[in-house]
């Protein structure tokens, strides 16, 4: 069994189409993207465990911290052992996490949910997130932004699937639960059954990814692709840098800063989206012209913008270049955030449009970063370097909500806030984006002293010319 998972057993044979790799990657990313759909059963868990929202929120926080840690620590292992073994391990951890958490719910042991979904599932998240990235870049050297954008779009899309699916399953497992009634809460045993069902579904889907994914043979390149064209582009290297050397370069840390600033700014809106739109359109009497249902629609629209940005902007970066597209994400973000702070409350259409553009830049920032790393450090250990860079996500995941919540807490109580209360937090995000903008401008090609010794020049494989 172990040999089936080895990198050597996953080298593509003659006639293999590289267009089978994106669905394999999407199978993994759509599955692990469920992590953003936890709000569906959050209230049910609060009631079942008779605890606070914060105590249940910790499950998600542990999972995201474990994502960053396992991606950073396991990145080199993923590069060495190949995508199939990584996807297999990710599927086992992700599904086992659901099963252990289901046991925790059934036995009313919250620590088991922390251990299961948070720790074990979180490891599955981190390994799964980076598992297809370097393989996609190697199969699509001519369009790395498009390829990684497709996969990472799946991480955004996973919540779009899991959210309505989970609601439907909960209503089947608990006949007393009515999803259209905001006061109705599903039972704990229904959530446990949901977790078991998701464990089985995700395991099967992720196994499809694990057993479909292939690595290209040594020296393979797509028909008509000339690596020499890469040399003509600024900031794009054909040399290779190891993960250990990459983190010693200023460019790595500048890109880390870019990602951290971009993600912090996006999370600031994402975490607060539903109350934020209601607060922006609250009259002097304290009531909002935006209903809870409309606010829910706004959150859905932001998820779509986030997902569309991951694919659209990342694919565009193949044409315009990585540095210019980050100038757009960060510079455009500065303009949008400033307009949101100063004129966002003038009309809901303007508010929604600005927030959607900001979220598309947030998604684009995530999806384009593997291609930026490939440009700077080559393909040699790009998965491991990407894993280390994702620690910026963990930092931003804590910093973004902290900044917004601290400012809002100082302005008043939830339910009484207005657009003015958001201004300091939004303008702080403008400052953060400015820092990211400057960091992006300072990124330079990596010095040759960090390059790996040159290997034999790659030759196109005879039987492997597919496009």
């Amino acid at each position: 069994m172990a040999s089936l998972l080895d990198r050597e057993r996953t080298v593509a044979g003659p006639g293999f189409s590289r267009w089978l790799i994106p669905p394999a990657a999407l199978a993994v990313h759509l599955s692990i993207g469920q992590v953003y759909a936890t709000s569906v059963y959050k209230t049910a868990l609060v009631k079942h465990f008779d605890t606070s929202l914060t105590a249940i929120g910790v499950i998600f926080s542990i999972a995201i911290v474990m994502l960053g840690l396992s991606a950073a620590v396991g990145g080199t292992w993923v590069d060495r052992n190949g995508p199939r073994k990584a996807m297999f391990v990710s599927a086992c951890c992700w599904s086992a996490g659901f099963l252990v958490a289901a046991l925790g719910i059934k036995t009313t042991q919250l620590w088991l949910v922390y251990l299961g979904y948070g720790v074990i599932g979180g490891i599955g998240l981190g390994i799964g997130y980076i598992s297809p990235v370097s393989t996609l870049i190697k199969w699509f050297p001519d369009r790395p932004g498009l390829a990684t954008g497709m996969a990472i779009m799946g991480f955004g899309g996973g919540a779009l699937i899991a959210s309505p699916l989970s609601t439907q399953l909960l209503s089947w497992y608990d006949s007393g639960y009515n999803p259209s009634d905001p006061k109705s809460v599903a039972s704990g045993s229904a959530v446990a059954m949901l977790f078991v069902t998701l464990a089985v579904i995700y395991f099967v889907v992720m196994m499809y990814g694990a057993f479909t994914v292939r690595v290209p043979p040594e020296g393979w390149r797509p028909e008509g692709f000339d690596p020499a064209t890469l040399k003509a582009k600024p900031l794009v290297t054909t040399a290779n840098v190891s993960a250990a050397n990459a983190i010693r370069t200023p460019s790595f840390w500048l890109l880390w800063t870019v990602l951290a600033c971009n993600v912090t700014a996006g999370i600031g809106i994402l975490e607060q989206a539903s109350p934020m739109i209601q607060d922006f359109f609250r009259d002097d009497g304290g009531s909002s012209s935006v209903t809870v249902a409309v606010a829910g629609g706004f959150v859905g629209l932001l998820s779509m913008a986030n997902m569309a940005g991951r694919f659209g902007w990342s694919a565009t970066s193949d044409v315009v270049g990585r540095k210019p597209i980050y100038m757009l994400y960060l510079g455009g973000g500065i303009v949008c955030y400033t307009l949101l702070a100063l004129a966002g409350s003038t009309s809901t259409a303007i508010f929604v449009l600005l927030a959607a553009v900001i979220l598309s830049f947030y998604g684009g920032g995530f999806a384009t970063v593997p291609a930026y790393l490939r440009d700077l450090f080559g393909t040699f250990q790009v998965g491991a370097i990407h894993g280390r860079l994702l620690t910026a996500w963990s930092v931003a995941g804590v910093a973004g909500p902290l900044i917004v919540n601290r400012f809002l807490d100082a302005q008043g109580k939830p339910g009484t806030l207005t657009a003015e209360a958001y201004r300091p937090a939004l303008l702080t995000m403008v400052g953060l984006l400015a820092v990211g903008f400057v960091a992006n401008l300072l990124i330079r090609p990596v010095s040759s002293e960090h390059h790996e010794p040159a290997a034999d020049q790659a030759q196109p494989a005879e039987a492997e010319r597919t496009s």
Partner: protein, 35 residues
């Protein structure tokens, strides 16, 4: 299984659930414009 069949199966496996998720989200988001 031919490469074409593998491609159809693979893209359907991920495309159909994604289309379902996008549809459900758009229905939800439509409340923004209908009040």
């Amino acid at each position: 299984m031919s490469t074409r069949a593998k491609l159809v199966f693979g893209w359907s496996l991920v495309g159909i659930p994604l289309a379902y998720g996008v549809y459900e989200t758009l229905v939800k988001a439509s409340s923004l414009f209908t009040g």
